[in-house]
Every structure is written in C-alpha cells, then in structure tokens.
C-alpha cells in the first residue's frame, strides 16, 4: 500500500472517530441537561467543552445554544464536528480508489447533509435529534466500512486511526471526570451516569455491574473491560492486532520498533489493577497510556510512512 494512502486512511478514520465522539457528547448532553439544575448543567457543559476542545474554562455567559454551535458547527473551532467531518472527507477524497464506493458515498452524504445545517433550524424543536440521526449515519458508515471493504492493510490502517483516536478521546473524558471526583462541584451521581452514556456504556455497564453506579466500577469497566468496544483495553487490543497486520513486507527492524511499543502498552493495560489506581492514580495511568499512543503514532510514521528512501536503497 502506498504510504500516502495509508496516511490518508489513518487520518480519515481518526477524524471520523473524532466526529462521532463529538456528536455523541453533544447529543447526550442536550438530552440530559433538562434533568439538571442550571449550576450542575453548567459544570457538566464545562467538562464537555474541556473534553472536546481542551479549553479549561467555559466562555462566560455561554448558554447551551452558543456552546452547541461552537462544538458542532463553528468553522473557527478546529475540533468542531463539521471541521472533523470535512477533514475526514478531504482525506477520503484523496484515497477514493482505496475505499469502496459505498464507504465514500456514505461519508460524503453525511457531510453534505450536515454542512448546510444552521443552529436556528435545529434549535426550534428537539436539537438533540439531528445529532442522534447523525450518529446513526456514523454507525451505518462503520458498518458499511466493515462489510464492503476488504479487511486488508487499508482496513487495518482505518482500525489504527479509529482506536488511537478513541483511546485519546476516552482518556481525556475519564481524566476530566476522575480528576474532579474529589472537588467541590465535581461529578455527582447523575454525572457519572451521563459519563457512561457519553461512552455508550450505560447498558453494557448495568449488565455487568447492575444499576449501582460507582466511580470505581466505572473506571474498571471503561479502562479494563476487554469486550466493550469503548473501553481502553478493547481499543488497545485492536491496535495491537492492527499493528501486526499492516506493512507485511516491511524490514523486520522497522516492524520490531513498532511492535515493541505496542507490546509494552498492551502489557500496561493487561496487568493494570483498578484498586491500585483509585486514589488519584487514574489520571496518571491515562496520561501514561496517552503518551504511549503518541509514541506509537510517531513510530508508525517513521517505520512505514515517512521513512527516508536512502535508508532502503
């Protein structure tokens, strides 16, 4: 596979994952805010903004309308939903020959549908509905990708992009919630429940631990559950598998550099214990995993994508 194609597939997938994460957070937040006091809703919005943009403080006087507009449709916000989708599409367009027509058209249609949407048009009735519908389309895109694209090298680059992005986004969300757990206006019972919903984890969690919502169980589930698709452990397993499948003909030394990093991260997750983490250790653990993801990203590029031609001739 061309290195440039691998690069575009990887980033297309990261941006799709980022768009989906953004959409889900907005949808869940809009649906849950009606059940919160204004103070709790504001604190909760602030956490969403921080998770999606990295900004630690919410803009003054920002209401749900302004925040939603900024997170979803603001072209000046690098991580807005519309920008993420636009970047995903730009990358997909550059590798159309490496995608199935179904995948491209599904992504293109989604973008063309959301691109002209205005806040005024969605705010009059149930604002969350548009985001729920977009999420359905994103899930359909994921299904179409799974079932129309050969599960060869290109598909594994998509997997890599998706799960590296997912670990980073999920990590940031967990960090924000667990760092604030002891603080005065920290997450309350309802906020923990919303956190599970942010991760589409509410139903799977209750199946596993019953409906008793406890931060420690949530951490255990979202960090270490090997079967739930939005847990760190699950994503790390997928990344490890994908890294073993890409660039099959690359020189062994290059492969080893990537696989060593993947093995180290997998060990950290496989042998992590939630009870060791609870007294403030969740944040440190996540910071470590996030750092390892960045190292894997760098090595992936050095080994397979941006390597110097002089080193192989």
């Amino acid at each position: 596979m061309l290195s440039r194609v691998a690069d575009s597939l990887y980033w297309m997938s990261r941006y799709v994952e980022r768009a989906e994460h953004t959409t889900r957070l907005i949808a869940v937040k809009l649906e849950s805010m009606v059940e919160q006091t204004p103070e709790d809703a504001a604190a909760s919005w602030a956490r969403v903004i921080q998770a999606l943009t990295g900004e630690k403080t919410a803009p003054a006087h920002a209401d749900a309308f302004a925040i939603t507009r900024r997170l979803a449709f603001d072209r000046d916000n690098d991580t807005s939903l519309i920008n993420s989708l636009s970047l995903a599409r730009d990358n997909a367009r550059q590798v159309r020959e490496a995608l199935s027509s179904e995948v491209w058209e599904s992504l293109n249609r989604l973008y063309l549908r959301l691109q002209p949407v205005t806040m005024d048009s969605i705010w009059v009735h149930t604002p969350a509905r548009l985001f729920r519908e977009a999420l359905e389309e994103m899930h359909a895109l994921e299904g179409v990708t799974y079932s129309t694209l050969s599960h060869g090298e290109g598909w594994y680059f998509l997997e890599l992009g998706r799960h590296i992005e997912r670990v980073q986004q999920l990590g940031r969300l967990l960090d924000i919630h667990f760092s604030a757990a002891q603080a005065e206006n920290g997450p309350k019972y309802f906020d923990w429940l919303v956190l599970l919903k942010f991760c589409t984890a509410f139903e799977p969690y209750t199946k596993r631990y019953t409906a008793s919502i406890r931060p420690q169980k949530i951490a255990e589930f979202l960090l270490f559950d090997p079967e739930f698709p939005h847990s760190i452990c699950f994503s790390v397993d997928r990344m490890t598998e994908a890294l073993a499948r890409v660039a099959p003909g690359a020189p062994p030394a290059r492969r080893a550099a990537v696989e060593r990093l993947a093995g180290r991260m997998k060990a950290a997750v496989d042998f992590g214990q939630v009870d060791e983490l609870m007294s403030g250790g969740v944040a440190a653990f996540i910071a470590d995993i996030t750092k390892q993801c960045e190292q894997i990203h760098k090595q992936l590029y050095a080994s397979y994508i941006t390597y110097g031609a002089e080193t192989v001739l």
Binding site: R4, R93, R96, W104, E105, R109, E133, A247
Partner: protein, 506 residues
C-alpha cells in the same frame, strides 16, 4: 422524518414502458417539444419537416408520453447521485470553494451502427497517421524533407520536445489515449474539429452518463440494442500493459496532479476501475534511473505510468523547474527504457491548430489512403492562395492564432466591427504563418431536457481512441452539450454539460 436532501435519491425507478403508436408530438408545437426549434443546423432527432428520425422513434414516443414532472424528478435524482458520488469540480470564488456538478442531460444522443462504423474507421485511420507522423518528426523527419509539412512549423512549436529525438517508443505508439472532438455539420456528416493528443479527459463522464441514461430510460435502452462501453477501463489497462513485454506482471500507476485538479475524480475513477495505484508526484522517486513508489512495506518499482500531468510539469529536472507536481529524474528513467509513459512526451506538437490542417495530407502521405473523416475546412494563412481568400472574406471567417488557446488571439469575423477586422488583417499580413481561418461552424442540435421541456441544444462528440499494440475504440463517446439556448460553447466552464451517447448495434 427524513431530511429532504437525505431521502433515497438513488432511485431512478418508476414506470417506464415504451408506448405504442399514439399521439405524435410535433417540434415547435406540442408538449414536450413546444420550444423545440428546428433551424439551419442538422438536428439529431428530427428531420427538417419535424418527423423523428428512425433511431429516435422509441425515444420520441417515450418523451411524448412521460409526464414532465417525472422527467424532472429523474433529472434531480441524477444530480443528487452525482453529488453523492463526488462527481464534481471545484470553483474557487472569494477564497470560498464551491463544489459543482457538471450538468448531465438525461436524454441520450443516438448514433447508428453504420454511422459508428464510419467514425471508427476514420478515427483509426487518423490515429495511425498521427502516430506515424510523431515517429517521423522525432526520428528521420521524412515528412519535413519531402516538404509535406513546413520544417519551421514543427521545430518552432513550443510543444516539440527535442529530448524525444531518436527515442524508441513501443509499437511506435506515441499517442496511446486520444480524445478527438467531432461535430456534425449541416449536411449531417461528422467532421473532426480537433485532436486531443496530450492528456484528454472526460471518459469518466462517458461512463457515468451511461449509468444515468440507462436508469432514466431502462425500457428504451433495453429495446434498442445499445452497444456496451463498460469495458473501457479494461481496454485501457490492456493498452497500457501492451507497452511492456511482461504484460501481466507490469506494475501500472495513474499519475495525477492531485485532489485539487478538476479532473481528479476521473483519475481516481480510472485507477479504481483498472485496479492500479493512483499516485501523485510526491509518491514517486527515481533511483539509478528506476522509478519507485513509496509503500508501507518499502519501495516498489513502477513499470508503466498513465500520466495525467502535462509535459511541462512532469519532470522539473528537464522541463519546468518550478513544477512541484512532477518527479525529478522521471525523464531519464524513461529515456533509459526503465519506465513507460502514456501518452509519450512531446505529442502536443501534433495537435496544434496548424498541424491539424495538415492531417488529411498526413493520412495520404503515410497511409496512401483518402481521409475517411474530413476536417473542418481550414485555411492556412502561410499559403498564398489561402491568405488572399482569408483577407477577402474576413467577415465570414473565424481566424485563430496558431499558438494560442482559450479564445485568445481570435477574430470572429461575422461579429467583429470593420475596425477590428482591419486591425486583424494587418496582424495576419505581418505574420501569416501564425494564423489559420475556418468558416463559422454550425454544431448539430439534439434534444435536451431544459426548463421543463425538451428543447434543441448544440452538441459535439468526443470519442476516446486507445492505441497500443493495436487500436481500440469503445463504441461510445462523451457528447458535450451547450445547455444555454443558441450557445455553441460546450465547455463545462461556460454552461456546458454532457449526455450519454448510444451507439446502436445495427
């Protein structure tokens, strides 16, 4: 509720039956042809007295019975489908990029089997002569020594590539992919307007339009014995493979300037349809005169490049040094015979306006045959008799500067003022070699669905000729259509669109 723009627009269906004999709609009088003008130009569908020509009978009865709203719905469905497939080009305005689709007209243009046989023979003859000409001027220059074509016209052309002199080219096939533009004149004969021998585009629209027309008129399509064109990518692949001896094992790539090129959709489409790599200049590198592409597993050798980049930009070491699209060292690899490039470099010398006028003579010279397809009558001002004819008839002719394109340096006699004509006459006399003249050309008209009815619009025809070890022409073409009433400009940047072309088996 579904968002309106999100409804299932790929459904072109709906009842589609070929109606029996019934009401006969007359052009210029009855719906849907109430605004259908029959004038001086040849009309593809109707005879001058308003009767549908035989090949259009089934289409006529379908159009006469299909409710216009239904036609409208199908037109919109088709536009949605193009948008979703990303068959668009980008217009940059005020730093804002807008994506537009190239308008497609639903109503196919029909060409009979007999007409096609003649076109096919004529185009084959033409590509053979042009390739022999290119081989000649890059080797012995026999045609120049014999005085058939003036030496200065070739060696003075900015598209003549000295670097190509004496280079062996497989099968002598310099032009592997050609898109010739033809028009049908008032007498109903096809004549060649120009040959595009560099990087002709539009073949993806030929294939996309087929999809559209077949879905819009399934029953008519089935009933008429339309010859298939879907194997074009396969024929293209075979042509590219024929340039190297180890055909099946050859690694082939389509070289594109990138996603910002207006034909990018086509480049990606052809690569996908052929199952070969789509590469940009930055994906390729040359080492020891061998071309490689950078892959995740390491460098991979490339044997044949179907390039969609102009000569000037293909190798900054040899041609334009400011080109960021090309591949440094590519030409040397080509010269060393380690990579084949289609089309070969330097083919542009054979498709400028002056050489065009010589093509009938080239056919006679190389093949000792009479041209099957005529040119549009062209007067070369470098020849004394023509020069005096042109100067005496400036009010009836279109005069073009040879080296220019895009309407620059052009005089449209009938629309110019006396002062403009006088001014142009002086220019021609000062440098006659630089000018040619042609009569004003009448393009034929064909039915198009516009403004809620079916009206006559001017069309041309661009078939695609493949030439490697052998010559192949897929029985179809891109029919470009000037969608503005009365306009003769079929160019997509000026309100032109395109439509499917049905070549019948008999």
């Amino acid at each position: 509720m579904q968002h309106e723009a999100f409804a299932n627009t790929e459904d072109f269906g709906g009842p589609d039956i070929v109606a029996g004999p019934g009401r006969i709609a007359r052009p210029g009088q009855d719906a849907p042809y109430a605004d259908y003008e029959l004038g001086r130009p040849y009309d593809e569908m109707f005879t001058p007295d308003g009767k549908a020509r035989a090949p259009y009978a089934a289409m006529d009865s379908r159009l006469s019975t299909l409710p216009l709203e239904e036609l409208n719905r199908r037109q919109q469905a088709c536009e949605q489908s193009f948008l979703h497939q990303g068959i668009t080009f980008t217009v940059y305005n005020d730093n804002k990029a807008t994506e537009r689709i190239i308008p497609t007209d639903l109503i196919p243009r029909i060409i009979t089997g007999a007409e096609w046989a003649r076109l096919e023979a004529g185009l084959t003859q033409r590509i053979l002569a042009l390739n022999l000409f290119l081989r000649d001027i890059y080797n012995d220059g026999r045609v120049l020594k014999d005085g058939v074509v003036p030496r200065s016209m070739i060696y003075g052309s900015r598209h003549y590539r000295r670097e190509m002199r004496g280079l062996p080219v497989p099968h002598g096939a310099y032009v592997n992919i050609c898109g010739s533009d033809l028009i049908r004149n008032e007498a109903g004969d096809f004549v060649v307007l120009e040959d595009n021998l560099r990087v002709p585009s539009g073949v993806s629209y030929m294939l996309a339009n087929r999809d559209v027309a077949r879905r819009a008129f399934p029953a008519v399509f089935r009933s008429m014995g339309v010859r298939p064109i879907e194997h074009y990518p396969l024929e293209l692949l075979a042509t590219l493979r024929s340039l190297v001896p180890f055909q099946e094992e050859a690694t082939i790539a389509v070289l594109t300037p990138g996603v910002f090129n207006s034909a990018y959709f086509e480049h990606a489409f052809l690569a996908r349809q052929m199952g070969v790599e789509l590469v940009e200049g930055r994906d390729l590198l040359v080492n020891d005169n061998v071309v490689y592409t950078r892959t995740t597993s390491g460098l991979k050798r490339i044997d044949v490049i179907y390039r969609r980049i102009d000569d000037d930009f293909i190798d900054p070491l040899i041609f334009r040094e400011d080109s960021a699209l090309g591949v440094p060292g590519l030409f040397n690899a080509y010269r060393a015979g380690n990579v084949m490039i289609a089309n070969a470099l330097g083919t542009g010398v054979a498709d400028d306006k002056a050489v065009y006028a010589y093509v009938p003579r080239l056919i006679r010279y190389y093949l000792a045959e009479e041209p099957i397809l005529d040119n549009v009558e062209t007067f070369l001002c470098r020849e004394d008799a023509s020069l005096s004819h042109v100067l005496a008839n400036l009010d009836k002719l279109v005069v073009k500067a040879v080296g220019e394109s895009g309407g620059y340096g052009m005089l449209v006699g009938p629309h110019a003022s006396q002062a403009e004509r006088d001014d142009f006459a002086r220019k021609i006399k000062a440098d006659p070699e630089n000018y040619i003249a042609q009569p004003t050309i009448q393009l034929s008209t064909a039915p198009a669905f516009v403004g809620g009815g079916v009206e006559a619009r001017h069309v041309d025809l661009r078939p695609f000729i493949l030439h490697g070890a052998e010559t192949k022409i897929v029985p179809g073409a891109l029919t470009r259509v000037a969608l503005k009433r009365g306009s003769l400009v079929v160019n997509s940047s000026q309100g032109g669109g395109s439509k499917d072309t049905w070549v019948l088996s008999n």
